[in-house]
Amino acid sequence: MKVNLAHGSGGNATRELISNLFKKYFSNEFLDRLEDSACLPPTAYPLAMTTDSYVITPIVFPGGNIGKLAVCGTANDLWMVGAEPQYITAGFILEEGLELEVLEAAVKTMAQTAKEINVKIVTGDTKVIEGSGGLYINTAGLGFIKHRHQLGAERIKAGDSIIVSGTLGNHQSCIFAQRMKIENKITSDCACLGSMVEALLNSGLGLRIMRDITRGGLGTVLNEVAEAGKISIQIEEKLIPIDPEVKGFCDILGLDPIYMANEGKFMVIVDSRDEEKALEILRKNSLGKMAGVIGKVTETGNQLVTVKTKLGGSRIIDVLQGEGLPRIC
């Protein structure tokens, strides 16, 4: 069966969708009341709030689907500020013609992923628009900040080490390959980063700042961090972890892994004295096997990100310009 405008009417069809799908999979004591808002117990912790919309094509891809992204992505943003994700809201925008099975698969994955990380989806909304079977999901997340004191751009010092948690470019390569029908075995790295992050936060190491490396890629994130911390950064090209297959994919399309999107990678700046311990913690985790130090905070004030190339040259890395889309000719 396919989605039609009635599913977004607010009436019977919407209610059926809610009870047969959303309530069925997301069910919890807060959501099940189906009130205008979810009513949640008080907490003593400071709060973290974030939102992201997920508009990925294809909806299902090797390594995940839009539903997994929608939970991991928002949870990751909470973890990055030292918060523990608690509650998620889910706003679905469905294009007419969407197969209900596709929606159900996404919803099911959202529920599973949320369960794995102990997060509750407490309220939602569904709208239907004209179109041709697309699916867009917005999630907003609420987290309790348990570790905020450890993190902040102002804590970064010259000499600190820049660590990435794994290989770069897998997600975007996977998605582009799907769209362009290039055969390969690259899977998206889409994952929840909580176990790695919490291990770091609980380690007592000298952490400075964390950022998940999503749209805009490492280059953009490093520039944002340089700006926020008023520091400069130098990384080394040969230290950037990248799968050979991803490298090959980038070569075909002229893409630069430094600007490619990931969905299960983050960078963390640590006191250089703690870099080995931090790496050890990350590599103990199955998601962090390829974690590595890629560079250093070089100085404060200048806000420049540079990379030492394999030939020993140096170039400046700015934020991503344009679309980050492949061109072939």
Partner: protein
């Protein structure tokens, strides 16, 4: 932008075929080269434009070795 790395022909009917770039397999027009399975080709805009005669890494080493004599 040209694809800087050569790909390996893994399937061909003379006109089109599949070319493997480090595990990424792409449908490519092969009508402008004489390439058989196992050959390496340079690809541009979906079309193989030349067969690669020898390994580029080796070539780079040999260029450096020869540079003194070439530029003499």
């Amino acid at each position: 932008m040209c694809v800087a790395i050569p790909g390996k022909v893994i399937e061909t009917d003379g006109m089109t075929g599949k070319v493997d770039f480090n595990g990424n397999i792409v449908d490519i027009m092969l009508g402008a080269v004489d390439a058989k399975e196992g050959d390496y080709v340079l690809v541009h805009a979906g079309c193989a434009i030349e067969t690669v005669q020898k390994d580029m890494a080796e070539e780079i080493i040999s260029i450096f070795a020869e540079l003194e004599s070439i530029t003499k």
